[in-house]
Symmetry: C2
Subunit: 254 residues, 2 copies
């Protein structure tokens, strides 16, 4: 039985490894080798927390596991991440557990892998202008992973909280490419690839801001009621979902 | 972070402790302090396994946890229990995990606690004759826990597999009270308290075998499609369920 702490995960796992693993899992899911089990996601009515489980099985591994955790909004004040998650992996041959892996950092990398893979396979090859709406804790991961997929020369950051946008810019001061803080409209009009990664419950991006051929990676709407982009954007776009059944129930436009 | 192995659980946890904990949890559930989250239970299409999760939160603890595991029918041949389960407990204040506890033995005690508590609170005080249908791995626990609740003088064991019934009788040769192997009809007609603990998908007990005032603890029907007792028994009885919503969807008579 292994226990892998957050610090061991941070020291040993790279974004590239996670992106490759997520690509493998998406392929296994698309070919029917992997399944997702129903998602459990519940308000706890305690500590303002949302708690739940995501689980699945990839026969091609075989890999059987569950990720348990959720959102504890009071954690930041205690010096902890608001998103907490823990992965338990089982031996698919016997059902006995073989590892408990802290999943908060892995979840950040996994979420970044999802938009990076969408850029790898779906964005224009000559995309040069990256835009992001949302400058929260996840945004740095999304941008760094995206930079591995295309040679972005400019990165436009939009967030209603300008301080947070400034902080994100500072965190990224080692990267090539120009970082520009703008409003959502300018970001949307001047980007070839747009990542949305906010907790918004109202559309932030309007349909007529989006230029033809733009690739949007919509990451934020992971719960019923969340909503980042105009319905018209979704209905005009070619839509790709990693898990269509799940996207229909808890994705954009509930 | 604690890891508690099966052998540590077996050395440190008693049936009495588990029965008391389950009674506390039922009370918390009945008063609204505790909730169950939706049950996930899926066939794995691998190793003939059934896998899933049961999870819940007891605010009065607070105790937040998930039990993951299921049934791996090929395990016995490998020297492992067919039922595998693992409990992950979380800090309800922050969502971080604090213990991983192997749950196979605990599940056996918990299941025994459920029928023992039903006997404690619902069976006739002067019940002397215990009956059980099903002599599988769980039956010894059910009988030992029941013996703490009433002074049973006779224990009638029914199982279509006579060898298994004989084995169970041997396992229990230290107890007070006479052990008698009988057919289900005789067991039902000559028992004040009946425990059903089989994987049956067809009713085993007929309504006209059951004497007035008999207490039935129906443990086996934990999945859609399982069925141990005549529909008429259920419709004639005063029915008590620990979790009515769950009992209606995955209990007796689907």
């Amino acid at each position: 039985m292994y226990y892998v702490s957050e610090s061991v995960v941070q020291q040993t796992v790279s974004q590239e490894q996670v992106t490759a693993a997520v690509e493998h899992a998406y392929t296994a899911y698309a070919t029917g080798d992997a399944v997702n089990f129903p998602v459990v996601r519940e308000t706890l009515d305690y500590a303002d927390a949302i708690f739940g489980f995501k689980s699945g099985f990839d026969k091609s591994g075989p890999v059987l596991g569950v990720k348990a955790g959720g959102l504890w909004p009071g954690n930041r004040a205690k010096g902890l991440a608001n998103h907490q998650s823990t992965i338990c992996l089982f031996d698919a041959e016997t059902g006995s557990p073989h590892a408990l892996v802290r999943g908060t950092y892995l979840t950040a990398l996994r979420t970044a892998a999802a938009s990076a893979l969408s850029i790898r396979h779906l964005a224009k090859n000559d995309a040069e202008r990256l835009g992001i709406v949302g400058a929260g804790g996840q945004s740095e991961y999304q941008i760094r992973a995206a930079l591995s997929e295309r040679e972005f020369r400019t990165i436009r950051i939009a967030d209603h909280n300008r301080d947070q946008a400034g902080q994100l810019k500072q965190q990224l001061d080692d990267i090539d490419g120009e970082l520009i803080i703008v409003d959502p409209e300018t970001m949307a009009k001047e980007s070839d690839v747009i990542i949305t990664v906010t907790p918004s419950r109202e559309p932030i991006l309007k349909a007529d801001w989006i230029q033809p051929g733009t690739h949007l990676a919509c990451m934020g709407a992971d719960t019923k009621g969340k909503h980042e982009v105009d319905v018209e954007i979704v209905s005009n776009a070619s839509v790709f979902g990693d898990d269509p059944a799940q996207a229909v129930t808890i994705g954009e436009k509930d």
